[in-house]
Symmetry: D2
Subunit: 268 residues, 4 copies
């Protein structure tokens, strides 16, 4: 038990849509070499919630083809169907309904409605509209959005169960481009905030958690590493490190150790 921290990890679970999780790292299933690598990386990540792009991945709609659920047994993982590849309200809503059917009424989804194929930024107008429809239809909606604090709050007020601002464009690996925005979203929120998209390496994940986020969702940063399984382990530890640092309360930054060296006013 030498890995155990003084404040028991059991006391620090993350809860979304009424269910509690020990891991704050959520992962995707795309871009791996094969299903075996997918399974090993997800295992190493410690993730308990795994997101699946319904329009790209077989979760039963294509009978007779390899089914991702074969390596992701639902008794072990919470499957989070997502609407990657949807550019309008209708296709996003339809995709969620298809997923619910295929997964026997499972109501948890990750909504993303994209604005264009180049940036993969969300279309927040369409996202808000789709979120309203899905919430009214009984879905538990985790929602991908930009890092605008006002939009984040509006998505919460619509009834989304978690808000997931981007750190940087999907697949960029650029890390958290605007930490102050993420911090503001966290400060204003009453639902879990998870960084979704843009994380590139373990320190990025740690920074997200140090900003007070409840979790991080990633895919490319693991799958496109030279050694995805080892990177999955790195991400797991990065998330835990950042979370513990957040809870431990970091030292105040200052220019020098001497008492009279505040950083305030020296904004470079």
């Amino acid at each position: 038990m030498t890995e155990e921290t003084p404040m028991s990890a059991a006391n620090d679970n993350f809860t979304v849509a009424g269910r509690s999780y020990r891991s704050r790292l959520l992962v995707g299933t795309g871009k791996y070499k094969d299903l075996d690598e997918t399974a090993r990386a997800i295992e190493a990540s410690g993730a308990e919630i795994v997101t699946v792009a319904v329009r790209r991945t077989n979760i039963g709609q294509n009978a007779g083809e390899p089914n991702i659920l074969d390596v992701l047994p639902p008794e072990k993982y919470t499957i989070l169907p997502n609407t990657a590849g949807c550019y309008d309200v209708d296709s996003a809503v339809r995709t969620c309904r298809l997923a619910r059917e295929l997964l026997d009424g499972h109501s948890l989804v990750k909504l993303e409605v994209l604005g264009d194929e180049k940036t993969l930024f969300p279309d927040v107008m369409a996202t808000l509209e789709a979120a309203k429809v899905l919430v009214a239809d009984g879905f538990d909606v985790m929602v991908y959005t930009n890092d605008d604090p006002i939009i984040a709050k509006q998505l919460e007020e619509i009834g989304c169960c978690a808000v997931m601002p981007l750190a940087a464009p999907i697949g960029s690996g650029l890390g958290i481009r605007n930490p102050l925005n993420i911090r503001t979203i966290v400060e204003n929120a009453s639902v879990p905030i998870l960084v979704d998209a843009g994380v590139g390496t373990a320190s990025d994940a740690a920074v997200a958690m140090e900003l007070g986020c409840d979790g991080v969702l990633m895919n490319t940063a693991i799958a496109a590493a030279r050694d995805p399984v080892l990177m999955a382990s790195a991400m797991r530890k990065g998330i835990e490190a950042g979370r513990e640092a957040y809870r431990a309360g970091r030292m105040q930054a200052r220019r020098f150790a001497s008492a009279s060296s505040p950083i305030e006013g020296l904004f470079f």
Copy 2:
């Protein structure tokens, strides 16, 4: 063994002065509330090398007072005496010799010769001179320096067994101010490079490791956290996360997921 990564941690030891360590986190003993907190934080950090400021801490020179070695048994920890508080060559050299006597011939020391009391930056001229004396006298010298790649190489050429550039001023918690310099030092080095001073939180430690450093030494970032023991655990995981991410080979950062979006030439 669920914490184990695919490439066994046993294969990734850190070696300095002929001895091998599993942990790449080195910690100090200053600024804690009491010896008990010191001991618990060091335990949680997983550190195997603990640095002690000989001019501030009793390692036997003051008989009858509490001895730090009582909570840091030498069979468990490698004690690394340091010359904190020394501003000239002579006092630094004398301090190392005193430590060697008190520690029964133990030859591993951390040399720091400071330039002024405000910044606590090293005086690299005096540091080079002291390092020459100590190496000639048979010490294994780990040496605190600035982040200048040329100086780092000169310290290596003198015979120092590890070079320890600052991330930021001692006690500042500002994180790695000049990652490109640290990277250049790492690329040029044939001895271990450890970041010493300036780390403020777990992601800072992870960044140091992702840059290819062999380890990180810290004190204030742990001792001055609201919960030092929990922060020690965070730092341990941050170091491991950064090391694994470095070994795993991170994805290339790009502006967008689309193939034709290099970041090159867009230096902001």
Copy 3:
């Protein structure tokens, strides 16, 4: 004429709503000590477009009180009425109509619909709606928004004549928090892009122009400087410097002067 650059400044005018301007610095009138300081700072800034918060500043609605137009003669300055302080569609639209009446049918306005009083972030949903109403009503709408490239494009498609993303929160002086987003907005745009809000000092203004923006609007950075008139001059030169650097085509950044030192892949 020693100030003249080789490519005549006359060739580099900025055009919005069918009118051409030599200056790319737009300024506000708030927070000055008195009208005299306001006038001197605006003179030193070289601005030709001056924005006025209709709900806070008398442009004729309060007969018998000092009128800002007395120090900003319309034959010298283009007055840009703005909707600062409006938190919903109706009040923003009404404010624009009031301004048009007071200014004898002048149709150029700056629309801002704010999301909350703490962050002063825009409510982009309400902004899009108000913009549609105003464009349909014959206004030339310059519009304050967040730095989301999709929203920026939607505002352009609605018919706004200029899109004005924030650099950072209004009145923060934090500079451009997300340069990559601003760059993406510029690359995608067919209308002028001006940074609005968040600039703190002259280099911030230069950076905005180097990113390819058509101009910068600011108020607090000038009015809250210790010497507003000198800062106005600094901003003027910062804008010109950044614009010229953008047109001159900066050198490629690289790690070292040696040919084989690309920065690509070393994203820290």
Copy 4:
């Protein structure tokens, strides 16, 4: 005189080695297409001090070849011979003495002793030694160094008339990598501090001046721009903008305009 700022520029001269200059931009002569472009760029920069690499440029040592002084008349420009290409004390000292002979006893030089050909970082040990020799020999020594505050102070104490820390490696165009170090150097100094090397675009130059530097020396950033003459003008304005912003006293940065939003303690 519309370019004139309220506090007359005549009151803000920069003085080095007993001579006063209006311009705070110092430029080099390397890497231009031809002497004509060199002359036009230097003219557009407004520079009054021009540095010449004695080992690469003919200032008279090669009779019968084009002489840079033909386009840089000494009655208009202060020629600043530099020791670029010198990697040891002797060659640097000899180069300065050669320059003094060729320039009829002119004692102002820029000393640089480089550490290696890859990074072009200074060898500060050798630099300190060469500086001592040159000061004793009656030279006015402006000295290129790293951004270490202690070294900068030691160079000042030796008697150098100006200290010139790097912003980033020579020829990199990376901008100011460690603004806090430059700021600390400025705060501690009694001689002029000029940033030398690493500036890439106009905003970088402005930042250097906003940090309180007395001037900036650059070469590649102008010569390697697509349009060097226009970039020279941009740099001139960037320097002036940054200087005026420094004198004007920038607004305090804060998270939001609201009074209670300090940035302190939110170091990301």
